[in-house]
Symmetry: C2
Subunit: 418 residues, 2 copies
């Protein structure tokens, strides 16, 4: 029976969103003296950092989509409801869902981020890389383009079918470009030897260097690595328009049907009835305790939130996870009528992968690059991936992929948007 | 470059369909003095016997979909083209495809079977179980029904959402019913304890017993096993009509939104310009050498073909595989101007799985049932599954599923037909 129909003597905490922040908050509320309801439009948690590997045929979608109910089997005071949250009314303490309104005593908003297109015309022809659906839609398109190119007699058409443009020189764009280059140099050449020399891969970055959140020398290393892999890098360039067959840049046009959009995100938030303090990107401004100003029973965490915390945070998974822990601890304090404590971010460092056997990282302020960063990236992501099954399968898949230089998930399956 | 545009001095063999028969024929023609073109509408080979496990959340789709190009990487004289074949013209030696006509010197038709609905009204509301798309579409529907049931306050509506009808008491229907029962008794109860006692699973069989192709005592064993698992078995019953909310049987109506149709197949064949000898189900009648009468350069194999061979064959994978080997051997003989030899079917026996730890089999005429048949079924299917990666992943998945009584692939992913 759904929770909305139950009246409970215990206070009810509703968590909206089962991403890193919300999922962690629910797990950390196990055994709390409250009835917890976690809601998400999907019945799984998406491990976003590995989406680019799903998109390039490396790992199965199920490995990065952990069923929420698997987590909750061991936590009797946390329930799950698959629904979309359209509205939130702080004054009435209600969220509006597909299944009607749901009342809360405490609310955690953790709806994360969505792709931001900055008003560029034609971005409906681009492939975002924010959800599991995005990744699978792109994979289907990609392997279909190869089959199409094989039967296209005109050389210009064929080159357009085999031209790939990645927009955005942050970690997502860099990892995507590296994975695509590896795919094109390895499995694609084995499958389509006739087409081997005809692909083109362009990475467009608006700023003067790649990975601007990392120290400059790591950006330079990344540039050199991607260049070696055959990526055509365009710095200080911005996409002006996308059409079904080309991408317009300030210095010319690229004939391409495949554009990956990894150039920014904005808050993905339900309609809020009440006015709140927010940023240009729609992020909710929260105080040090992660509470919304004026609404002490409402928290916002993860990519949705901007914490009043000295220097801005980077929008990475560890921040959301740590905020999930903090919000759970603060809710437990509130339930015992204690006041919430400020969030303390422990920066464990950052890592990004740059093609096979290359990576960059910064831990405790010390930048490093190369094989060590690459292997650390793999290890860290394996450890954070939820579920022993997924960890084992992804580990085996990586061993298979890197030893055999292969991508096993190249099937164009009969579903998805084309 | 596509083969159609190349003129070759070598004879060209075109194989239509990359199922068991066509896939094996292509592999067996490695190194033959001919240019071989394998065509299929999908870029993968489907391992049909495990589709019901995909449909019930046990294994990943990629494990039963082997990319055709992976097989062909080692076989330079065999090429692949992803296309639909709409027409075949024996007189002009042409197949008509999406990409225009393709000429052949020798043709192997291996397009297999498709679901046959026997004209029952409303079967558009039923779920067939013949392709990978069918299996995934059903899985998505199934796990969505559970989430829907949870938020449905009316008990009648909820029971309808949780009622599942499998039509057909052959191996596909029996395996599907067993897998569904296991899912409902195990993982479903863990995920939705509130709904545990509210499901209903009905198996409808037109004949007087289950598994009519096996000896009667195995059908009886199967009946008892499924009964123990909670399956409501209706023998001597035929579905008369299906609507979006119910299934009509001669002895009453079942309120259900989920009907799996596993009650028969017919030939899936392209339009043939020339008239051919065929059966009521559209199967092409071929002689002992698997050649079409009057067209010595045309072969038909697998589920598409009815071999003039004393007693009828059973339409199972080993027959198609053996016919693939025979057709390759006969084509090699024809290329050397020798006459083709008759097909000799080596019956290695049959197996079917009946829920967890139960199975039935008949090898060398000896029927057996229980754990031995179950474990044999798993072993045989692992051996026949193409690709070491898939074998390892499926083995690990089975260990996980049976040890933990779990189904890992329960995500309702944002694609598929709903």
């Amino acid at each position: 029976m759904p929770l909305p129909h139950v009246s409970s003597p215990k206070p009810r905490i509703v968590i909206v969103g089962a991403g890193f922040g919300g999922f962690q908050a629910a797990a950390s509320l196990a055994g709390a003296k409250a009835e917890v309801l976690l809601v998400d439009r999907n019945n799984y948690h998406t491990f976003v950092p590995l989406l680019y590997q799903v998109a390039t045929g490396q790992i199965d979608p199920s490995c990065v989509a952990y069923p929420v109910r698997t987590l909750l089997r061991g936590i009797p005071n946390v329930q799950f409801l698959q629904t979309s949250v359209e509205r939130v009314d702080f004054r009435s303490k209600l969220i509006g869902t597909d299944h009607g309104p749901i009342a809360y005593d405490y609310l955690v908003l953790a709806t994360g981020a969505q792709t931001s297109y900055h008003g560029v015309p034609g971005t409906e022809y681009a492939f975002p890389m924010q959800t599991l659906g995005d990744a699978v839609t792109f994979r289907q398109h990609l392997f279909r383009q190869f089959e199409r190119a094989l039967v296209t007699p005109d050389e210009g058409d064929r080159r357009r079918l085999l031209s790939f443009v990645v927009v955005g020189g942050g970690p997502t764009g860099v990892e995507m470009a590296g994975a695509l280059a590896e795919l094109l140099k390895g499995p694609f050449r084995k499958d389509f030897p006739e087409l081997a020399g005809q692909w083109r891969l362009v990475l467009v970055q608006s700023g003067p260097g790649l990975l601007s959140a990392f120290p400059q020398r790591l950006g330079t290393y990344t540039h050199r690595q991607l260049d070696k892999l055959g990526v055509d890098i365009r710095l200080n360039s911005r996409v002006q328009k996308i059409t079904p067959t080309r991408v317009e840049l300030p210095d010319g046009t690229i004939a391409a049907e495949t554009v990956v959009w990894a150039a920014g995100t904005e808050a993905a938030r339900p309609d809020l009835i009440d006015s709140v303090a927010d940023t240009r990107k729609g992020l909710l401004k929260v105080g040090p305790t992660l509470q919304l100003e004026g609404w002490p029973n409402v928290y916002a965490i993860g990519d949705l939130a901007q914490v009043d915390y000295g220097k801005p945070l980077a929008g990475v998974a560890p921040e959301a996870l740590q905020q999930g822990v903090t919000v759970a601890r603060n809710l437990r304090r509130q339930l015992r009528s204690h006041s919430p404590k400020p969030f303390q971010y422990v920066n464990k460092g950052r890592l990004a992968i740059v093609g096979g056997y290359g990576g960059v990282g910064q831990i405790a302020g010390i930048p490093f690059s190369g094989f060590l960063a690459w292997i650390l990236w793999l290890m860290v992501h394996l450890i954070y991936l939820p579920g022993y099954r997924n960890r084992l399968l992804v580990l085996l898949t990586w061993v298979h992929n890197y030893l055999l230089q292969d991508r096993a998930i190249r099937q164009v399956l009969p579903w998805g948007k084309f």
